[in-house]
């Protein structure tokens, strides 16, 4: 039994508990513990990633109870990928929050941050549907805390909406899970896949409803139109680094769709159930995102909409439901997480100088360095060469070639609007000469810039090593679409 699998969940919990117990008021100690935790998590997830390459899937039976009766964690390539992405992103963002002093602007930042990590890792590792709900709640409630970190009217008000909307989502999640248990009598995902394959036809309709509800839950997380309304306000109001961290939160929804979707897609009752809804909604999501980029007045909102648009592309690829498309979706997910996060950090650095609203306004918001970083991040986000956005776009287009006419024009038009939006904002922000009303550019914070550079470096790496990375992702997608290894790892009674 490989105890490393539980570590990404217990480690942050224990360290967070320690902070609460011992270091409630000692910022330095909190930062030290945080640093240790994030480095350890990064190391752990890299180790797990390498393991996941060797063994198709390994299960960790909590409480030593056999599946499906107890709860299992399952480590496979997908979960390992998400762990690494999360840990890497979080490490950079955490460092940014420290160097910019964001962590001092309210209590318990580091505790909440660690619990956030626990929730995310738990969600990515669990092999149990109800446990997925529990860890969704963990990561959500931590995100509520981070979102209103630092307080302020706008933030707290947006927070109320964010919480209420997600509570609705959680309730829906429970409805779906209860229905699933009521029909199949199980909660273990692998067991679910096995039982769905032989489900009596009379139960088909009910199980379809159950999974449709689950799809809606994940759609809310992933900001799929028309369930995305909570996102722009929340992300624009959240502290910069938190918004950047949230770039991975929408991906949790996408992750859950891929994880469960690939397990149920072959079953007669639920075959093609999700795809039917995903594709049209994804097209709308892309449109709303792209139009929003062109139509936003404030930089953070603009980035939020760019994030929505990128989720649209991801969902489009997931909706195609082929291994190639899934692989493209994964690459696009990793890319857009990094790009969105980088832009949110930049927005956080630029916006104070530029003033809350209104990119029309005054230029000279920031130094040349910032301009260069912004341009790089924008190029990545808009899917222009030479950064990973372009590669990701090509991968998705190639995977969608069966419905080329519609899909390609949609994706390309969306990226045109995004390019126009970013060009407009960029030239207004950085090229317009300072007017007397425009505030002096904020002095560059080398630490903060280093954080953004780190993210951009990751994006460059993603581009340069696109070959090996996509090869690895292709194998991941293959394993997802033929989940025998995943199911076997659960060692279910009576299942070879």
């Amino acid at each position: 039994m490989n105890h490393l699998i539980i570590a990404p969940i217990v480690l942050p919990a224990v360290l967070a508990g320690l902070i609460v117990l011992l270091a409630r008021r000692a910022m330095l100690a909190q930062r030290l513990i945080g640093a240790v935790a994030l480095l350890a998590l990064l190391g752990l997830s890299v180790v797990l990633l390498r393991q996941s390459g060797e063994i198709p899937a390994q299960a960790y039976f909590l409480g030593n109870w056999p599946a499906p009766f107890g709860i299992v964690l399952v480590l496979d390539r997908l979960s390992a990928l998400m762990l690494v992405l999360t840990a890497g992103l979080a490490a950079v963002i955490w460092a940014y929050a420290v160097v910019t002093g964001w962590d001092r602007r309210g209590r318990h930042f580091h505790t909440l941050f660690l619990f956030q990590m626990m929730g995310l890792n738990g969600a990515f590792l669990t092999g149990d549907a109800f446990n997925l709900f529990v860890f969704f709640e963990v990561l959500l409630i931590a995100s509520y805390g981070l979102m209103v970190h630092g307080g302020g009217t706008a933030r707290v008000r947006a927070g109320v909406q964010y919480v209420a909307f997600n509570l609705l989502g959680s309730t829906l999640f429970l409805f779906g899970l209860a229905a699933i248990y009521s029909v199949t009598g199980t909660l273990n995902m692998a067991d679910l896949a096995v039982k769905l394959a032989v489900l009596p036809p009379g139960d088909a309709a009910l199980i379809r409803v159950a999974f449709a509800l689950l799809l809606m839950v994940f759609a809310i997380k992933g900001a799929l139109v028309p369930l995305h309304f909570w996102l722009p306000g929340t992300y624009a109001a959240a502290p910069g680094p938190v918004a950047a961290l949230f770039a991975v939160m929408t991906k949790v929804g996408a992750y859950a769709m891929i994880r469960l979707g690939t397990l149920i897609v072959t079953a007669p009752a639920t075959e093609g159930l999700w795809q039917a809804y995903l594709t049209p909604a994804a097209l709308c999501t892309m449109a709303v995102g792209a139009v929003g980029v062109l139509g936003s007045h404030s930089l953070p909102r603009m980035v939020a909409f760019a994030g929505i648009g990128s989720m649209g592309v991801v969902f489009l690829a997931i909706g195609a439901g082929t291994p190639q498309a899934t692989s493209a979706a994964l690459y696009y997910m990793v890319h857009s997480t990094l790009a969105t996060a980088a832009l949110f950090l930049l927005a956080d650095m630029i916006t104070p100088a530029q003033g809350r609203d209104d990119v029309q306004g005054r230029g000279a918001a920031a130094s040349g360095v910032m301009a260069a970083l912004f341009m790089a991040a924008a190029i990545a986000m808009a899917g222009m060469p030479p950064l990973s956005g372009f590669v990701a776009k090509l991968l998705v287009l190639d995977a969608l070639r069966d419905k080329a006419a519609l899909m390609w024009s949609a994706v390309l038009l969306a990226s045109l609007l995004t390019i126009l939006g970013f060009a407009r904002t960029g030239s207004r922000l950085f090229w317009k000469p300072p007017t007397d009303v425009s505030p002096a550019p904020a002095p560059d914070n080398p630490g903060a810039i280093a954080a953004v550079v780190a993210l951009l470096a990751a994006i460059v790496g993603l581009t340069v090593f696109a070959g090996p990375i996509t090869a690895w992702l292709d194998m991941t997608a293959q394993a997802l679409h033929l989940p025998t290894g995943y199911i076997a790892a659960n060692a279910l009674p009576g299942v070879p």
Partner: protein, 115 residues
């Protein structure tokens, strides 16, 4: 009996959503707690119901109802309690910060044009 339970779930859900649509924080909170009642009963009912068959091992017992949904409901109750507490305090914060407890206007002051 089932019809009673199902209808209770329905009425609870409807009432909860109706309150959630009332555009002020406090009704929204009340609505959410009604919704959580609804879903708790739903989970519980999903394990099918029967009186006098509590899942507490006892040689004299004629049988037991499914204990798992009950355990799930326990978890759900606790979590929703935590969530309720959080949103109550957030609502307080929003009210104390802005002087009204309207939900709909939230964030309009940072939306830049979209408000």
């Amino acid at each position: 009996m089932e019809i009673l339970i199902a209808s209770s779930v329905g009425v609870l859900t409807a009432a909860g959503l109706y309150l959630m649509l009332r555009a002020q924080t406090f009704p929204v909170i009340l609505g959410l707690s009604l919704l959580s009642y609804a879903v708790n009963i739903f989970i519980f009912a999903a394990g099918r119901v029967a009186p006098g068959m509590a899942p507490i091992l006892d040689p004299a017992a004629i049988g037991y109802v499914d204990p798992l949904p009950q355990a799930l409901v326990l978890t759900a109750i606790v979590i929703s309690f935590g969530m309720t507490a959080v949103i109550v305090i957030m609502a307080l914060g929003a009210y104390l910060n802005s002087g009204d407890d309207d939900v709909d206007a939230a964030g309009s002051d940072i939306s830049g044009g979209a408000g």
